[in-house]
């Protein structure tokens, strides 16, 4: 409970005694490049193969002649949009971006760089963390959209190349009884997950004490706790919004 309280106080500290808009704008753009562009290749690769594997495995399980083939792509579409793109990519995002944030801030803490900011009269938590959170909120939904598209494309290629489904059936299945709300739901999830990963990882890194070993521990704790938070939030959002 103490840690939870400290976490909320930390979040509150991000919004007091801030620097100028120009300062944050530049920092946020830098973070966007690091978070978004830096993660795009890994997210693309994972999403593409995730879609391909989902198609093959769904086809393997749908052996009844009574079930039409387009159901394969329908399953791929709903799984991708509702769960795989926002949640699985969220877990990967926590591993890549979360650990990087925690170790970066942890190293700044133990090498007194954060103290240097404080002594200058700069709100170090706001200066260092707010741009990271804003960048994640901006970039993660875009990564989720990219992941969704690439997963569906990966499923299409894998299905067609292995002959489990024709291109026409795949496209038909993708369009069949499409509910736009699933995309809205995925985007809501992506905002929530982006906030959780960036804030928890920053919190863990920001309060690192000790030396190199503790930076590693903070990084590990950031990923573990971000993943747990993602899974809990995933369940709660599904319960509340679906």
């Amino acid at each position: 409970m103490e840690t939870l309280g400290k976490y909320f106080i930390f979040l509150g500290s991000l919004f007091v005694n801030r620097e100028t808009f120009k300062t944050y704008f530049k920092l946020t753009i830098d973070e966007c490049v690091s978070v978004g562009i830096g993660s795009a290749s890994l997210v693309s690769l994972v999403a593409f193969f995730m879609g391909a594997v989902t198609t093959i495995q769904t086809a393997y399980n749908l052996i009844s002649p009574l079930i039409p083939d387009y159901v394969i792509s329908l399953v791929v579409r709903d799984m991708t949009i509702l769960e795989l793109a926002p949640t699985i990519i969220g877990v990967i995002f926590a591993g890549k971006v979360g650990s990087s944030m925690a170790s970066g801030l942890g190293t700044m803490r133990i090498s007194e760089q954060i103290d240097a900011l404080e002594v200058m009269g700069i709100n170090s938590s706001s200066y260092l963390v707010l741009p990271k959170i804003l960048a994640c909120l901006l970039m993660y939904p875009m990564l989720v959209i990219l992941a969704g598209l690439l997963a569906i494309l990966g499923g299409h290629l894998a299905g067609v190349l292995t002959g489990v489904i024709t291109p026409q059936e795949y496209i038909y299945g993708i369009r069949f009884e499409f509910n736009e709300y699933t995309v809205t739901f995925a985007l809501i999830k992506s905002f929530v997950f982006a906030f959780l990963v960036s804030s928890i990882s920053s919190f863990r890194g920001f309060y690192t004490t000790g030396g190199a070993v503790e930076v590693g521990q903070s990084s590990t704790a950031a990923v573990t706790q971000s993943v747990i938070a993602i899974l809990l939030a995933d369940y709660l959002l599904a319960q509340l919004l679906l």
Partner: protein
């Protein structure tokens, strides 16, 4: 001028500072000395506000700092420059960007003026034409110089140095000490240096505060060291054979 009154700080059961009071004068280096673990760095962090003391007051001119509002603290802090033990330079920024950092964040100075000021400060610490080097490319002594340049770039009224000589060879240490003393005199700053380096004490110790087990046991200047009359202080200062011989000669 900085005045501290009855500063106390404990961590768990351990009382680190047990009511320290004193005054740090403007325009001359004020040294806080003592063995490792006596609370020198904790006292320095209490003065600059990185650690909140359990009790006591810190006055910058006439403004009480410890219990001040956030805005007043920020205002006072913007007059503070600090040299950290490891330099605390921002790894991802060049020497120039590190020194320019306080100007970028805290002022609205035009770019060319900022660059002039940075070049002036780098020249002042003997680092002309090192602007584009990364912190990882410069030596320990140079990092300290960059740290000093960053600390004075904003025309700071207060300069704090935490172990400025740690990890440096004796010759470079003396150069850093001399630089701190010159800057203090030149810019009329109130400078507080935490050290356990006897070369610093003998070289620039105009106002020395000796801490022992959380208490202030002695205060004086470098000329009064020989006749302190405090056993713990003598044990600290005359710890090696050379210093003991000097004491006997005196």
């Amino acid at each position: 001028m900085i005045k501290i009154e009855n500063i106390k700080k404990s961590f768990g059961d351990k009382d680190v500072l047990k009511g320290i009071s004193g005054t740090f004068q403007k325009g001359k280096p004020n040294l806080i000395i003592g063995s490792s673990g006596t609370g020198k760095s904790v006292l320095l962090k209490c003065i600059v506000g990185l650690i909140k003391p359990d009790d006591g007051f810190v006055y910058y001119k006439h403004n009480e700092f410890t219990h001040a509002s956030r805005d007043l603290k920020t205002e006072i802090r913007r007059e503070i420059g600090m040299l950290f033990q490891g330099g605390a330079l921002f790894d991802s920024k060049t020497v120039e960007e590190n020194v320019m950092f306080p100007l970028n964040v805290l002022t609205t100075m035009p770019e060319d003026e900022k660059l002039d000021r940075v070049n002036f400060c780098l020249k002042r610490v003997g680092l002309e034409n090192q602007n584009k080097k990364m912190p990882s490319e410069v030596s320990g002594g140079m990092k300290k110089r960059v740290g000093i340049a960053r600390a004075i770039v904003n025309d700071s009224n207060y300069l704090f140095c935490d172990e400025p000589n740690s990890g440096l060879d004796p010759q470079t240490s003396i150069l850093i000490d001399e630089l701190i003393a010159e800057i203090t005199e030149e810019y009329e700053t109130t400078t507080v240096v935490v050290t356990h380096d006897m070369n610093s004490v003998l070289g620039i110790g105009e106002n020395i505060m000796f801490l022992y087990e959380g208490h202030k046991l002695w205060e004086g200047n470098k000329n009064e060291i020989m006749d302190s009359g405090v056993k713990e202080f003598d044990d600290f200062v005359f710890a090696n054979k050379v210093m003991r011989k000097l004491k006997k000669l005196d």
